[in-house]
Symmetry: D2
Subunit: 352 residues, 4 copies
């Protein structure tokens, strides 16, 4: 059993990490931290653990990067669910003292410090960007083996990357034509109340946000798509906020290259994900629903081709908090440790 700490345990990805770590046969949660809620018991902060022995009584701590060395004797690995910037500092401190780090923020996902700088501001530990491994197990499995610093991918990026990667790899779409319409539940916005998430104004409407190429996860998505293709890819990316808590549906559009058929798209995906137990390519006319993966680590993907316009439509559906954050972090950890990829992960959705 590895001893685990979760830094930033009071938010939604923290809550999901707690749920998943508790069920994982090789992990034991021994330490939780949350800046503003330090001094409270976990059961006071996460109502989902009320009554659970050991968990509910865990005391939330304050994590100070400069005192990371004190944790060496307490934990073997740490999950970071912190805001960007803070996460980079915490990750470096823990990594430097030899604690394995799985960072769920954006801080170690980008390989290019200049791109990070334009998007988030100066990086506090740019020297680690090359060390960190991008934690998308399906596309970085070999690198993840024994990785000590893992950058768990973003939720919008995961949903788009999984269906698009096979199409780029097999030259089925024009890489200069990609349009991504990403529909997300509101839990991705975090646990802090705000007008955009106030039930009366969020529960019965849909709206776009961060349009015109302004969403901060675009550089991450383009980095990964470019890596798959072997040359630079730029995408048009527009997210919309839906009246639901969990789930992302990505609808990606691209001009079909001559070899593209619906069957060829599915075949490319099946081949790419042949040994990937947590990606399912839907057959024939089936189309994904985010409800079908709620609470599970699975990603569903599907393809359609409009024969009149020769546009490919690629769909991805995940739970943003599970596959889009916490479960994918554990999946990457599993790979890094040489454990079965699905170890301890929920494979069946909470349905309905």
């Amino acid at each position: 059993m590895l001893k685990v700490g979760i830094i930033g345990a009071g938010g939604y990805t923290g809550a999901e990490l707690v749920r998943l770590v508790y069920s994982h046969p090789e992990l034991e949660l021994v330490m939780v931290a949350a800046r503003e809620k330090a001094g409270k018991r976990l059961g006071e902060v996460l109502p989902s653990v009320v009554g659970v022995p050991k968990l509910a009584e865990l005391m939330l701590e304050t994590f100070e990067p400069e005192r990371a060395a004190e944790l060496v004797s307490r934990i073997d690995l740490a999950f970071l669910a912190l805001p960007h910037g803070a996460s980079a500092r915490a990750g470096k401190a823990l990594f430097d003292v030899g604690i394995q780090v799985v960072d769920l923020s954006a801080d170690y996902r980008l390989k290019d410090a200049a791109v990070y700088g334009r998007t988030y501001g100066e990086h506090p530990a740019p020297e680690l960007l090359k060390t960190a491994v991008y934690g998308q197990p399906e596309l970085h499995r070999a690198e993840l083996r024994d990785a000590k610093l893992i950058a768990a991918p973003g939720c919008h990026v995961t949903t788009a990357l999984l269906p698009l990667a096979p199409l780029l790899r097999e030259k089925l779409i024009d890489p200069n034509s990609i349009v991504i319409d990403s529909k997300t539940g509101v839990s991705g916005g975090g646990r802090t109340p705000a007008p955009a998430y106030h039930l009366p104004e969020a529960a019965e409407g849909v709206r776009p946000y961060a349009v015109g190429g302004r969403h901060r996860h675009i550089p991450e998505l383009e980095q990964e798509l470019s890596l798959v293709l072997g040359s630079e890819v730029r995408v048009t990316f527009t997210p919309s906020l839906l009246p639901m808590t969990r789930g992302i549906l990505c609808s990606a559009y691209a001009r079909a290259l001559p070899a593209a058929t619906e069957e060829a798209c599915r075949a490319a995906a099946k081949s790419t994900y042949a040994n990937c137990p947590l990606v399912t390519v839907l057959e024939g006319p089936a189309l994904p629903d985010t409800l079908w993966v709620r609470g599970s680590a699975r990603a569903l993907i599907a393809y359609a081709l409009d024969p009149r316009t020769r546009m490919v439509i690629a769909f991805g559906a995940i739970d943003n908090l599970t596959r889009g954050a916490s479960a994918q972090a554990l999946q990457a950890l599993n790979v890094s440790r040489g454990w079965p990829e699905t170890l301890g992960l929920p494979e069946i959705a909470l349905f309905p």
Copy 2:
């Protein structure tokens, strides 16, 4: 006061017509029909009118096209909220006896009987397709004047057409590059229970449907876009079903032509809709939310341009049952009668 009949009063567009006709100062609802619910009182079928004097006690009738002549003495105009096919027959029968018809089905929207045939099957009254006026007041105002047979547009079509028309008219987008991602509440699926609309499987997930160019309203949309451009337009159209009752958000993507800027797009729309009280072009960074038009006849439109990819993103937001069906039908009627376009229509949304 004109005497009004609603044929197909038991469904959701029927319910919305009842609400709107009741508030309209020039209309009096005197006759309602609904095949399966004939013999019941309206208050038994539409819980929204329980307790409303006169309305709740109206008896639902069976409408038989062959007995249309008997209605001449009872009603001046009829709204049809029937399935396609049935609506064509009802519309012809009423038109032939001189009753003004506003048809909310797809039956009189297409100008080309062959296109109708490929989409819905043989048209029972193809000779009327040229007579019927497409009831989009903003784009067909002159033709609507004195129109006796009005085909109220479809909800997805309205949401896409309003933001795209100005861009095509002003040559701001490449007409061969249009991708439309249309997000709709489930009330558009009608009042008959089905697994896709069963709350436990519809309330907390999102899913695409009718993908790959298969949605039946594509020919209607292409007809209208082509008319605006003056040459044939084809679009890639993908609808998704959202966990909410009312509202459609259209996100349309197209390659910018050199003249396109966000400001130029807005200016084109403001110019196109300068005298249109029920279309509002949002300013600067504002983006529409379907909640902001719930229950109202208004359409909100907005534009963004991704400077990196030179893609224009055009947004439209409406209430699918109000602007997307029943209110637009009344708006077209107002224009046909020479009344103020907004007469009797709800201009303020039910918020929140």
Copy 3:
């Protein structure tokens, strides 16, 4: 046309007042105030009025009670949608200069300043408590005529009072046995974001609040029930927060007195509300749904009797923002002015 000001126009009851005043044939909205949002245009604060001529451009002002006299030339009457305490001061200032006041807060509802003091703190204008008329038109119609200071009732109180009053009046229930379980949508909590209304934590669960007799509207409810009975009534009142925006369903339980049958309960209600166009007593086995009154001024009531336990169950269903606040305020105004009680009020729900 009377000139109307709305003080506190930026919240949900303010939004609903704007919608209703706009449709009212005898009222013209000329002045809006909202402390924190002063200086903005109404269309920036209430997205429901975006695009509406005149309304969207109205500038929000700051209302200062000491300058109430300046308003005499601008408005004939004011609706107050302010927090308690502030509302009492604003109401007094306006009343003193001769402007008719309809106060939607709790400040002028209680007749006993001591009870107010125990519930909310010292009343700033106790001398007006006897002057103010409790604005429940069905139960205070005569007093409302020409009333200059109207206290619009609370939403939970309205939903419980309407079905219970006939039972007390006709001696059908034991007044010492009343238990009220009131289920409300979250819009009653107002427009300020807070954890309890954060969509991810409010959209898929139900929870009680203010239990054990601690809800502040209990004294108001007991005052009115006692008035109906002619002697003191105490109730057990428990509200629960439901995952929806609008609507209150009250389920009230009381021990049946010998004369009580389901039919006797209905007959009592029909008699009590014989001339009340906005209360509908459901027939036979029909039971109310809050969706059936969404956006409307109507209250639905129904009764059941458990023959095994001889308990009466009385149901009330309203829209908390419409009948429970803003529409009832206009209804009371209509009565005070001698206009038809339903003038300008929505009688048909937004369904679905």
Copy 4:
């Protein structure tokens, strides 16, 4: 590993059983049956298992009671998620051939065949009613040991019974005064589409149903409460349908006996459930939310006392499909087999 069959695997309790059995370390799902869906693969019927090895490919069978003997070699135990009547016959057939049965229907819950008859019609196997053990582990733990025929309790009953039992046992409430207001999500209504569960008419409203003592689970609840008290108890029970998928909140009201205080109520519950890992008594002012137990086997209970009316309010909150059906069935199985009560059960909620 015991081999498990689920008869009635295509509905919601079936789906939840599949999820839970899959995670249980001592159980292996080897057989699934579903009358109308026989011949399909489980992955076609339950989208939650798409992509899950072994599960998705399981073929749905038809179960015929007369051929129960053929199952002896295939399964050790069967869960029945069938309509009442059908479940009684299936249960008897399986029991007779020596297969352990956990029945999730109402068929073996009532001890008195006459009461069953009045509620559901003649019982097909009344001789087994005394043999069957009521599967509420907290109250029937000793009897469950080695039970071969277990009747898993109903969801409304569980939610009311858990908070009320300690109060009756400790004589803290008047047993003749109990009023139960039970608020449920719509998944309890099953998977068959119907108007009451059609999203547009169910998603934004609340309504009572089966009022006046007509709900069929009242005899079951009274049987269990009477057993706790040692004499007959009758209750007034009113369910309401909420706009959400999962969860039941029970608010139960009863007149306090002299010994009752909030603290005494909590102490009674803590004592009753001292060795019950899946019942949590909330402290002090905390009140339960059904979201806090979504997908978990836990029941939350809490108490309040209105000092003015001396009414106790007892709250219970569960997930109707998990603790209210499938997880409680497994919990009872665990007890029957002598395994740890929580073995394989989800203890942490899916939050948010």
